[in-house]
Symmetry: C2
Subunit: 240 residues, 2 copies
């Protein structure tokens, strides 16, 4: 929903300024469109929220359209005005969930004292999605559906995932520049950490076995060693 | 299909020995069952083969049951005698594919001069599934369907995947024992390499971008550094 939110706030900035350029008729069109845009944005938000709610409650990643519109209090027509298919809605839902996760990770990273600690916080924040029971219940359907959505909407899913790895890529790049990590392609290394964290998370969400916390630390140490962290930075308790 | 092959060969061993114990009636039952078992095994093999063929040809991971039985030259009844659902057949197909991949990886590893080189061969063999166009076409539907099958049959998929990581786990353990890798939990480290390789492979199968060979080498170096390979072993060209 990131793109949508940007649209809305751009629109508000526009209204709050002086009169927009163009003829009165053009401005009237703009006003009408602005009202319509706000209505549509609210409808889309209700559909996405309803889908989140149904997924959380049922654990199923593909609620029926009839259920979604019932919970959202909207019509089938409203649904298909905004989304050509249920998969298209699910991509928007995934996007919204990833946006929340990216924001959570960015906050964790911002509190870290240096970019290696920030990299570690990224790994810990990802692991937390499987370690925390509430987060795990919310994350499980998405982690499992990711492959299916990547198959039907590869571009959108890839773009969404870049939002997760971009802050990590920057932290790795900065840490290398400071000599805290060995030199290396920051994009490829951020991708490696993403595969590690996502694969580990998916496995844990499928097979709860009670040894997760230790297993998360092992993965974290592996990731830091993979990045060539200098020895003083490689202790799993550093920055904790 | 591994379990099935074990059943068949057990049965052959049994027939080729001296008379089995029990009464004549019991032996007659055993003979009848043995014949039935061979027929069923052949039917299952044809269904699995037909499904492989359809998946390769169409790129779709879920051919219709009617198509599968047509290509296999069997009836719907024969299908449901062996599999309660199409997903159950797909697990058998995945199992058979993973068995072939495990055998390929084991052969590559066996030719390596030491266990670190064997670990590297495992990573290279996995990467080859995305780098080689023919292998990629065959692997793509399974890599994408893995999440879906893991959701419907978590136990079977986990068991199948352990067949892939077990030889890797042994190589890592041996390399640590020889002081060629840092000490660490070999199971957790084999799992980390599995997530790296599988995540990378899935991403490459979805987004071909022509820089795969270089990207595979970066991943390999990351994995070896993650394992704490001694410096002389960490060059990407070692053992090539």
């Amino acid at each position: 929903m990131l793109v949508l939110q940007i649209n809305i706030s751009n629109n508000e900035d526009h209204d709050s300024g002086s009169d927009p350029p163009g003829t009165a008729a053009e401005r009237a069109v703009e006003r009408s469109l602005a009202g319509r845009r706000a209505t549509y944005a609210a409808e889309i938000e209700r559909l996405v929220e309803a889908t989140f709610q149904l997924i959380r409650e049922s654990g199923e990643v593909e609620p029926r359209v009839s259920e979604i519109v019932r919970v959202a209090g909207l019509s089938n027509q409203a649904f298909y005005r905004h989304f050509r298919s249920k998969h298209e809605l699910l991509v928007a839902v995934l996007d919204s969930g990833i946006e929340q996760l990216a924001s959570y990770l960015t906050h964790r990273m911002a509190a870290a004292p240096d970019p290696v600690a920030a990299t570690r916080e990224w790994m810990r924040g990802m692991a937390e999605q499987a370690l925390n029971p509430e987060a795990a219940a919310a994350t499980r359907p998405f982690a499992l559906a990711r492959g299916r959505l990547a198959e039907s909407h590869p571009e959108e899913v890839a773009q969404t995932e870049r939002r997760l790895t971009e802050p990590l890529r920057r932290a790795i790049q900065e840490a290398s520049r400071m000599g805290l990590l060995e030199a290396g392609d920051p994009g490829a290394r951020a991708e490696a950490l993403y595969h590690l964290a996502m694969g580990w998370m998916q496995a844990r969400l499928l097979e709860p076995d009670g040894r997760h916390r230790q297993s998360a630390e092992q993965l974290e140490n592996f990731a830091l060693a993979g990045l060539g962290a200098v020895p003083a930075q490689r202790d799993a308790t550093a920055g904790a």
